[in-house]
Symmetry: C2
Subunit: 217 residues, 2 copies
C-alpha cells in the first residue's frame, strides 16, 4: 500500500529488501493532495520497476465527509505534535477501507503479504493506526477469504518513530526524494501541517537533509 509518503516508501523498500515481488496499490479517497500523491506513487513504482499497479477510488469519503483531509470546508487542524485527542484530519475507519481493497486485490493476485507503513506512536492519535487494529484485521482476513488464501498484513514500521524511519529508508537507499508528505499543498510542501512537521523533525533528528524543497515563509 503506497500513499506516496515517506512511510510507505520505506515500507516498500523493506518489502523489496526481503525479496518479495512487489505490487503497488494506491487509494484515492478524495484527499486534498491526491493528484500530487499519485505522482509520488508512480515515481516510486517506477523506481522499483513495479508493473503491477492499481489506483483505486474510494471517493465515498468525500460524500461521507467529516474530515479536514477530504472536506475543504473543514479547516486543517493547527499543527500540534503533542496532542492527545483525535485531530480533525482523522478520516473515520480509513485504514479498514484501504485494507479491504488491498485484501480483495491481493486475494486475486494470490499475494501472501500486505505491507502497510502504519506508525502507532507517530500517528496523531488515529484509532485505526494501532497494532491492535491490524491484529484484529488479520483475523477478519482469515475468516473472510478463501480457505486456500494465506494472506497477512505486516506493519514493519508500527513501533518506529519518524527518525528511525528516515534512518532505515536512507540505509535501504529508498527514494525519499520522490515522496510527498504534505497534507495541504501540491506544488511545494507547506512545512507547517502536522505531516510536514513530523517529517521535518524526523530528518532533523536523524541528522539527514530532507531532499524535498519547502515553501519559504
Amino acid at each position: 500500500m503506497v500513499s506516496g509518503g515517506l512511510d510507505s516508501c520505506v515500507t516498500a523498500a523493506l518489502a523489496c529488501a526481503e525479496g518479495f515481488e512487489l505490487a503497488f496499490l494506491h487509494v484515492d479517497y478524495g484527499q486534498r493532495t491526491s493528484k500530487r500523491e499519485k505522482q509520488a506513487f508512480n515515481n516510486i513504482a517506477d523506481h522499483y520497476q513495479v508493473r503491477n499497479r492499481l489506483i483505486a477510488n474510494a471517493k465515498h469519503f468525500k460524500k461521507i465527509g467529516g474530515s479536514a483531509l477530504t472536506d475543504t470546508s473543514i479547516p486543517m487542524p493547527p499543527a500540534d505534535l503533542n496532542r492527545h485527542n483525535i485531530p480533525s484530519s482523522y478520516v473515520p475507519f480509513r485504514n479498514a477501507n484501504l485494507l479491504s481493497i488491498a485484501t480483495s486485490w491481493a486475494e486475486l493476485l494470490g499475494a501472501v503479504r500486505i505491507y502497510i507503513g502504519a506508525v502507532e506512536e507517530d500517528s496523531s492519535g488515529y484509532p485505526d493506526c494501532r497494532h491492535s487494529f491490524f491484529k484484529a484485521f488479520n483475523n477478519v482476513i482469515k475468516e473472510g477469504t478463501r480457505p486456500e488464501t494465506s494472506l497477512q498484513i505486516v506493519t514493519p514500521l508500527i513501533q518506529l518513530n519518524k527518525t528511525d524511519i528516515v534512518k532505515k529508508g536512507t540505509a535501504l537507499q529508498a527514494p525519499l526524494h520522490l515522496t510527498w508528505s504534505c497534507y495541504a499543498e501540491e506544488e511545494l510542501a507547506c512545512g507547517k501541517c502536522d505531516s510536514c512537521l513530523l517529517r521535518i523533525r524526523g530528518f532533523q533528528n536523524a541528522g539527514i537533509p530532507d531532499p524535498i524543497p519547502y515553501q519559504k515563509n
Copy 2:
C-alpha cells in the same frame, strides 16, 4: 446496508420494527445489475420514508475483476443450489469493503447499529457471509474507531433460510414487490441464476406467491 434484494429489504423491515431510525447505504461495486439495484434501493427507501441515503461507489472491484458478478467476460456460474465450492460469482472480500464504508458513514452519523442481511447457510459458500467473519469484523470496529463510538454489526437473518426470510418479510409487511434479486438481468428477472432460483424456491416453500414477474423461457 440495502442492496435492494429480498434479504436487505426484510432486514430493513426488522430494523424499522425494532424502532431504529433508518439510514440506507447502497454500494455500487460495478455489479452487472447495479442500475436496477439502485432503483430497488430507492423504492424501498421511499417506502420507509428514509431521508438519510448514501450511494457509494466501490468500482475498484471492476478493476480488480476475477468475479462473474463484476467482469462480464467471466460467465455466470450455472445454477447449482447444492454446490460445495465457491462459485465464480464470488467477489473477493466484498463484505469487508461494504462494511468498511458502512462503518465510516455510521461513525460520522453517530449510529449504533449496522444491519446487514447476510445469510450463512444460503450464501452459496462465500467466506465473507459466515457468522465468524462478522464477529471478527465487530472486533475491528471496536479497535479501529473513536473510543466514544459504540457501533455493532447485526445480522438478523444469518441463521435463516430463504423460506424463513420470505415468511418473516411477509409478516412484517416488507415491500417485497419492490426488491430485485436477479444477478443477470435488469428488465425482467431471468429466473435461472443462483439468486433467482434461491428466491423462487423460498417463496414456493413458504407457500407465498412471488410478487415480481420473471422472463418466460
